[in-house]
C-alpha cells in the first residue's frame, strides 16, 4: 500500500459504462445483422461494412482534427449509428451513397452538436432521411431477398410503397395486402431495407436489451400500442382505404424504429411518463404520415419530429419528488 486514496462517497460503482451499454446495443443488433446478411447476401455485408467503418472513421477524424478533443470512438456509439444506418438502407445502395449518409449522420447530426450526448436528433435517422430526399431512386426501389448466394434480385417496392401505389391506382387495401403473408414479415421474407425485414430478430434483440436493463420497454410499447390502436380505428372505419393493425406493426421499419431508434438515450425523454408520451407521439405521427402523407413510410419522420420536442417533454414530465406534491 502506498498512499491512501481519498474521495467523496460513494466508493463503489456499478459495472455500467457508456461503452458497456453501447456494447449491449451492438449485441442486441447482431441477430438482425445476421438475418439481413443471410437474406440479402454479400451486398448487405458491404453496406454494413461501409456504413460502420465510415461512421467510426468520421467520428475519429472529426474529434482529432476539427474539435481537437479526446476521441469518443471508444464508446462504440458510432458503431451503433453505422449499423442502424445500414439497416435502414436497401442492400443495393451504392457504397458512396452509404458514405454520404454516414457523413450526414455523424458529421452533421452528431458532431456539429458537440458529439455524443449533445445531438438533438437520432444521427442514423437524419442520415437516412437525408438519403431518402436526396437519392430517392436508390432509396425507394427495393429488392426481394435473394439469400446469401442467390440469383440477382428483382426490383420492386416495399409492401407499404406497393400499397400506396396500388391505392393511387384505385385498388382496395384488401386486394393489395392479400399478396403478403404476415409470417413472411415476421421471418424476413419481404422486400425492404435490411432492418425492415426480420421483425423477430429485432424483437429478440430488444428483449435482450430490456433484460439487461439497458433500455426500458415503455417507449417501444407505447409506440406499438398507439400504432395498433390508431390503425384499428381507421381500419374499422374503412378497411378498403386503410391497412390493418398487424400489417402496420410489421412493415416499414416500425419494429426497428420503435426498438432501436426511438429508444436512443440521447434523443429520448428521461422519465417514464415522458417516454410514454414520446411513444404515443411517434405512433400517431407514423400512422398519420402512412395514411395521409405522401411518403409511404412514416417512422423516420415521426421519430425525428418527436426528437425535437424531447427537451419540452423532459421539462413537462418529471419524476414525482419524494414527499412533495
Amino acid at each position: 500500500m502506498s498512499k491512501l486514496l481519498v474521495s467523496p462517497s460513494p466508493h463503489i460503482h456499478s459495472k455500467d459504462s457508456t461503452r458497456s451499454l453501447m456494447l449491449d446495443v451492438v449485441i442486441a443488433l447482431i441477430p438482425a445483422v445476421i438475418c439481413s446478411v443471410l437474406f440479402y447476401g454479400w451486398q448487405e455485408l458491404l453496406v454494413l461494412g461501409v456504413s460502420v467503418a465510415s461512421c467510426v472513421l468520421l467520428e475519429w477524424a472529426i474529434t482529432k482534427y476539427l474539435l481537437k478533443t479526446p476521441s469518443t470512438v471508444g464508446d462504440l456509439s458510432a458503431v451503433i449509428t453505422g449499423i442502424l444506418l445500414a439497416l435502414n438502407l436497401p442492400y443495393t445502395t451504392p457504397w458512396w451513397v452509404v458514405f454520404a449518409g454516414a457523413v450526414v449522420a455523424i458529421g452533421v447530426a452528431k458532431m456539429t452538436f458537440g458529439g455524443i450526448g449533445q445531438n438533438i436528433w437520432n444521427p442514423a435517422l437524419v442520415g437516412r432521411v437525408f438519403l431518402l430526399v436526396s437519392f430517392p431512386t436508390y432509396m425507394t426501389s427495393w429488392s426481394a431477398p435473394k439469400g446469401l448466394f442467390g440469383a440477382d434480385a428483382v426490383s420492386g417496392a416495399t409492401p407499404l410503397g406497393a400499397i400506396q401505389e396500388g391505392l393511387m391506382r384505385g385498388s382496395t387495401v384488401q386486394e393489395l395486402t392479400s399478396a403478403y403473408d404476415y409470417r413472411d414479415m415476421l421471418f424476413a421474407n419481404l422486400g425492404g431495407s435490411a432492418g425492415e425485414v426480420c421483425a423477430l430478430a429485432l424483437l429478440a434483440g430488444f428483449v435482450y436489451l430490456c433484460c439487461r436493463k439497458v433500455v426500458k420497454p415503455w417507449i417501444t410499447l407505447s409506440i406499438f400500442g398507439t400504432v395498433a390502436l390508431t390503425s384499428l380505428v381507421f381500419w374499422g372505419i374503412d378497411p378498403a382505404r386503410f391497412t390493418d393493425p398487424l400489417f402496420n406493426l410489421l412493415t416499414g421499419g416500425l419494429v426497428l424504429g420503435a426498438c432501436f431508434m426511438a429508444t436512443d438515450y440521447v434523443t429520448s425523454p428521461m422519465s417514464v411518463k415522458g417516454g410514454i408520451v414520446f411513444g404515443i407521439g411517434i405512433g400517431f405521427l407514423t400512422m398519420m404520415i402512412r395514411y395521409f402523407g405522401s411518403y409511404p413510410e412514416g417512422v423516420s419522420f415521426a421519430i425525428l419530429i418527436m426528437n425535437s420536442v424531447v427537451p419540452l417533454l423532459n421539462m413537462w414530465f418529471k419524476q414525482k419528488k419524494f414527499g412533495r406534491k
Binding site: 486514496l5 462517497s9 466508493h11 463503489i12 456499478s14 440521447v266 428521461m270
Partner: protein
Amino acid sequence: MSKHTFSIGGVHPHDSKISRECALEQLPPAPVVYIGVSQHIGAPSVPCVAVGDKVKVGQVIAEPGGFVGAFIHSSVSGTVKSIGPRADLAGRATTHIEIAVEGDEWLEGIDTSDTLVTEIPEDGKAIVEKIRLGGVVGLGGATFPTQVKLSPPPGSKCERVIINGCECEPYLTSDFRTLMEKGEQVVVGAALLQKAMGGVPCTIAIEENKPEAIAHIREVIARLGYGDMDVMVMKMMYPQGGEKQLIDAVMHRQVGSGALPISVGAVVQNVATALAVYEAVLKNKPLVDNSVTVTGECFPKQANLVVRVGTPLRYIIDYLGGIPADAVKIISGGPMMGRAVANLEAATVKGTGALLFLTEKQTRRAPETRCIRCGKCADACPMGLEPFLLNKLSKAADWEACEANAAQDCIECGCCLYSCPAQIPLLDNIRVGKGFVLNAIRARAAAAKAAAEAAKSK
C-alpha cells in the same frame, strides 16, 4: 405483497456481506484513546474533566453543549493526558480528550454481566432521561442524539417506532451480528423505545438477505411475549436504511422536504441504537463501545469487533494484522455513504460502524466521460430528483435553480454516481449545491425570525 420497499428509485449494489459469519469479538482497549467532543450532530460537548484526572469506564467526561447535544463518557479507565485539537479522519482538528489506559475499572452501578433484564419501567420520561444520561446517539450513521428524537415537539405524535435492521449497504454486518447474538437485548431495547413513545406499535425492519436474523428475532419476540411488535421483511434495495425511505417502505408515508420523521408519526432507530438504549436504561451502561465491521475482499482477517469509543483506527487495523498490500482506500462506514479515511491516527467515534478496505480496482474512479442523457441517475434517485440537472446547475453556481429543483432534498446516498455510466461526479457537485441551498434557507429563516422579533418589539 410480502416484501416491502420504498416507492422511488434505489439501486441494488452487490451484497458482499463476507464477514457475516464472524461472531462479535471484544477488542481489548488500546493503550491510549482519544475521545472527540463532537461525535454527534449538534453542538460539541464541553469537557468536564481536567488534565491529570483519573477516570473510570462510564464516567462522564464531557457534557452536552446545547439542546441537540450528548453526554460523552470515558470508554476506558485511566488518566486524562491532554485536552486539545487533534485531527479526525478527514484531517480536521477537533477537540479530543486523550486518556492513557490503566486497567479496566468500571464505574460503580454499571451492570456488565450478561443477564438479560426484561422489566420495562413504567415511566416513559424516565426512560428518555436515562437515554440522555447514557449519551446514546443514533448509530445508523447520522449520530443524531437519541433523546432529541424521542422528544417530539408539541403538536406531533409518534404512531410507530421503527427499528432499522436493514443494513442495506454492502459489506456491513455488525447490525446482523448484533441481531443474531444480542437479539434479546435489541428486542427489549425496542420495547423500551415503544414505552418511551407512549406504548405505540413497533416494527423491526430486516432485509430479506438476513433470513437467520428474521427467524431469530421473530422467535425472540414470541419468547419474550411483547405485543404490538413485529418483524417486517424488506426487499433488498439500497438506500432502504435511509430514514425517509424506511418510513415510506414501512408506513407508506412520505416525509416532506425539510420535515422530520415525527411529522408523519414515525420514530426510526437503528438496531445498534436499540441495543445501546437497552444497556443505558436497564444495565446503566452508557454508550462507551459499539460494534465495528472490519472487512473487504482484500482484508484477510474479517471481523465484527466491539470497539471502545476513541480507539485509534491504526490500533484496530494492527490488531487484525495491518493494512493489506493491495488495499488503497480505507472507508469508515459502508461503501456507498462511508467516509474515506485520510488520517489513520484518527480515533473511532460513537457512529463508526465499519472499516472497509477496498482495492484499486474496486474503488478507483474511471475518467469522466460525456453525459449520454440515459436518465439512469434520475431512475436511481430515491428522492425523485434529477441528478444530471442538479449537477449542471450546481456547476453553474445557480443556487436558486438548485433550490427550485430540490437540491436540498438530496440524502447523499450516492445512487446517482453509482449508476452513472459516464462516471460523472454527480454527487460531488450536488453536495456543493445542497450546501449553498441549505445555507440560503437557514439565512432566510433567521432573517424572517429577526424581522418577526423586530415587529414584536415595536
